[in-house]
Amino acid sequence: MSTQTRIDKRFAALKAEGRAALVTFLTAGDPDLETSLEIVKGLPAAGADVIELGMPFSDPMADGPAIQASSQRALKAGHNMSKTLEMVRQFRQSDDETPIVLMGYYNPVYIYGSERFIKDARQAGVDGLIIVDLPPEEDEEFCIPAMQGGLNFIRLATPTTDDERLPIVLTNTSGFLYYVSVLGITGTRAPDTTDVAAAVKRIKEHTDIPVSVGFGVRTAEQAEAIAATADGVVAGSVFVDAVSANLDNKPAAIRAVHELTKNLASGVRKAAKN
């Protein structure tokens, strides 16, 4: 990349600070556009360093029940791709530094129009993309145009990504690598932090880009343990659960997500002192 994105700058700054990033995932538009925007606006103050926003999809093949339900809630409330981009635009009016990553599945992007999406996402203030069902084998399709359009393309690596395959995964990865710490779908199994440390070490032998670890992170203790070895800790289902537990009281949903963010952020920051 010739120019640094907000993601590159944020990871560089945190590295200088000597701590890992807290990356928070929520589904855009869950439970509705207004509440979702309020939640997202308050995340940086609560301690989120990078914000991932899920683009809702009717058939989220790699997600567990919590994120499946959040997608359904958002779609039921009338959410769509244009509204996700509008959320980012509104967020950017008050925050020009916190990186935003859009995460989801390829079909809604493809139907929006890949070129149009890259242009509109960039203009709205999106920094990076995670498209779950676009492996390196399909790079020509969208990854390369997105990187040429100035967006980071963040790739997933998993326990099935062996040493032979890892360089292929890393080739067109930028911003950070998202290491999926468990086999399976989001939010269902807890990561084994010893395995995570070994995996991060293995990946770092192949690359200098930051490595963030996620899937199944729910507590400050887990965040702390992962932050001791990784450059970033991703949590998602735990926030989505907080939204779904407070559907009848939206201010409470907003508060609950921000409290959880503070809690996980404290775990991440504790690791830095070790």
Binding site: F57, N80, Y106, V132, P135, L183
Partner: protein, 405 residues
Amino acid sequence: MTDTQINSYRNGPDEDGRFGIYGGRFVAETLMPLINELAKAYDEAKADPAYKALMDDFLTHYVGRPSPLYHAERLSEHLGGAKVYFKRDELNHTGAHKINNVLGQILLAKRMGKTRIIAETGAGQHGVATATACARFGLECIIFMGAVDVERQKPNVFRMKLLGAKIIPVTSGSSTLKDAMNEALRDWVTNVENTFYCIGTAAGPHPYPQMVREFQCVIGNEVREQMLAREGRLPDSLIAAIGGGSNAIGLFHPFLDDPGIEIFGVEAAGRGLETGEHAASMTGGAPGVLHGNRTYLLMDEDGQIDEAHSISAGLDYPGVGPEHSWLKDTGRVKYISATDDEALAAFQLCCQLEGIIPALEPSHALAKVIELAPQYDNNHLMVMNMCGRGDKDIFTVAEHLGVTL
């Protein structure tokens, strides 16, 4: 693709698993190494004469192949036009073409040392075939089935249980076939080490569309030989029902490069294309990406997948195999559609004239035979794939005819 001269329609997919723009490998990273491993194992198996010999032996003595090519004489006379033949794949063990593919995949799973088989099913025919093969080869079998389908296909659910399979009713999304497929994929990423995903149709990520087609091509290859023996020449037209499209591609593929042969694929028009309640993804949908491949899909303007509708649970899927999408765009195959009511009428006519109770899936193809056959003279040889028997459908048919059993 359509602008350039195509030398052969039988060369796909390319090394990236593409048929023109369709197909591909749109899966999560966790599955990518598994799909590559599968492609490699399949190539090795194909090159091994022992694998082919074992497959042929089971096709002959367990499945009961070759299936007959039957001249439907009374139906032909009634329609007054083309000479109509049925390829009798409903006479296979388990009552449909599904077993051709399942056998190939289960023998492959055994070779690969996998011990746990997962599959999705809609009507239950693929589930029954998978449970059957797993029982025969002593493998653990888990079938994902939409909760709605579990309810409307009770006899097949019981069959699968008798055969030792575990049925997991899927309640996510719309609780039908597409959701069962999502759930099977979720299971696969969670249990990568010991699990083999036995996909029921010529769709999904590469190499599935190619592999399933090659297992089903036994249908078309037999028709070729049988028709030459019977009539001394090749057929003039072929017709088959399309859900995911595995029975159709199995019949069509061996004939794609015979330019004189007209080929028709029949999608389910449900309550009518104009009602929006149908499963005709090629006639009424647009290209998109789902379940590992790019293909025609039913979806809204935001790319969210729509629910399909058909009286036939086996056609009730909002997508189609990628090779059909390509054959549609190239114009080699004509894709048409039949409504629930047309299929029901054809179902009854076949019972009355031929003494054959067809499944509701091929009843869609039969509905178009009724429409097309009179347009040809009686030298015209038309082959319809009777891909399943209708015993499983009698409850659905009774309900639609207002009969209480």
